[in-house]
């Protein structure tokens, strides 16, 4: 009976895990595929540790006013390693969230962020997907891209339509 139980347990364990692994694998692949694009289409990318999160309230936005009101979330982060942009110890950046999207999923911990600079030289998250998990394979890819930029094997997309920080992609400022 015990042997039967063990067989059932092993069967369930092995029959379930590949599917879950598959899901995780595809998520990891999706994130890995985004690293290069994120770095090349923004102004600053670094591995950071979020140390402070401050909800600043509703941002002034001439087009939104009370409709689709934006909430500004200000992050203060320690920089662990930078891949693009000025070397610095800490950074402040903002995330603009529509009220209806809620504040329950704010960023925490260690992650890779790619940021744009606005007219006032403030950093902000340009869109969804500019945050990546701090997984080894992603960090390695980011380091490689940093080297390739330095060696001029890769160039930033500042002049093409994919650049995330140009006004027509930012929307009203």
């Amino acid at each position: 009976m015990r042997l039967f139980g063990l067989v059932v347990f092993l069967f369930l364990s092995f029959s379930c895990s590949p599917e879950n692994d598959g899901e995780e694998d595809s998520k990891a692949e999706f994130a890995l595929a985004a690293v290069e694009d994120n770095i090349l289409t923004t102004d600053y990318t670094a591995l950071v540790e979020i140390i402070k999160v401050n909800v600043e309230g509703i941002a002034e936005d001439s087009t939104a006013k009370n409709d689709e009101a934006l909430v500004t979330v200000k992050y203060t982060a320690r920089i662990l390693e930078s891949y693009l942009g000025q070397e610095q110890k800490t950074i402040e950046f903002r995330e603009y969230v529509e009220k209806s999207e809620g504040l329950s999923g704010l960023s925490r911990g260690v992650l890779i962020v790619s940021l744009c600079k606005d007219k006032a030289d403030n950093y902000y998250l340009p869109d969804i997907g500019y945050e990546l998990p701090a997984q080894n394979v992603i960090l390695e890819r980011a380091k490689k891209i940093k080297r390739q930029i330095k060696d001029k094997k890769l160039t930033l997309h500042k002049d093409d339509a994919s650049y995330a920080c140009v006004p027509h992609r930012i929307g009203p400022e």
Binding site: S26, K27, F30, A33, R94, E95, E98, S104, P126, R169
Partner: protein, 265 residues
Amino acid sequence: MTRIAIQHGSSILEIRKANPGIKDLSQIAVGQMLIIPRPAQQRPTFGGGKRPTYGRENPKVCGLLTYTSHILRLFNSSFGWDLDDFLPTAWLPTVNDKHTKNAPWMKMALGEIGVSEKKGMHKANPRILKYFKASKFWGKDDSGGKNAWCGSFVAWVMQENKIKPVEKAYRAKEWKNFGNKINEPVYGAIGIKSRKGGGHVAFIVGKSKDGKKYFMLGGNQQDKVQISEYPKKVWDTFVFPPNHDATKGELPVHSEKGEKAGRED
């Protein structure tokens, strides 16, 4: 139909009983009304008590007059049931065969109304994770701005209809690069609005009588898939899927009666 039953905590048997006029439940058409009995544990007791409410807890957030999936309250006296014995049915725009023929993906999009986020951090509705997969997004949590899933929802609808979504479909603004741009939106077109740090994307299903408002079916609208009313001016771009002819389409006008019926204030 199974999905509708599950979404509303009902069963096919109960829905069949409540809709004797519909011979084949698998053949319901877009725009057709359906009575969905509320699960027994949600039925109010007679003789007092607060009447249960449906839909949004905060109907005015973002200034959007939002249509939840539960709107029309129907009463069928022939069964002797009280009005409150029924869940309001899903509000669906009145469309004709021409609309659905020109935008066949809308059938699937309408079928997703009611899919909502799972509350709490690091949790996600498995359905929304399927949307993420369609857009190749790596998120594991369906809440918050960084996991906004409107683009992923549109990607899933397109993919299920054998239409290749745009690259980086999880970003709303990327949908500007999809298919063909159109000047005048038609039923089923994809609308995009931009803002600093993001944007929103949804399917258009109609306009108000005065033409100043659009009715948009989208994901992540009050944390769920639903039809919401937006000012026309906030939508900067409309696109139509490749290999589909937008010139044959039109945009239904929703009557004043329909708008009022849709509100859950």
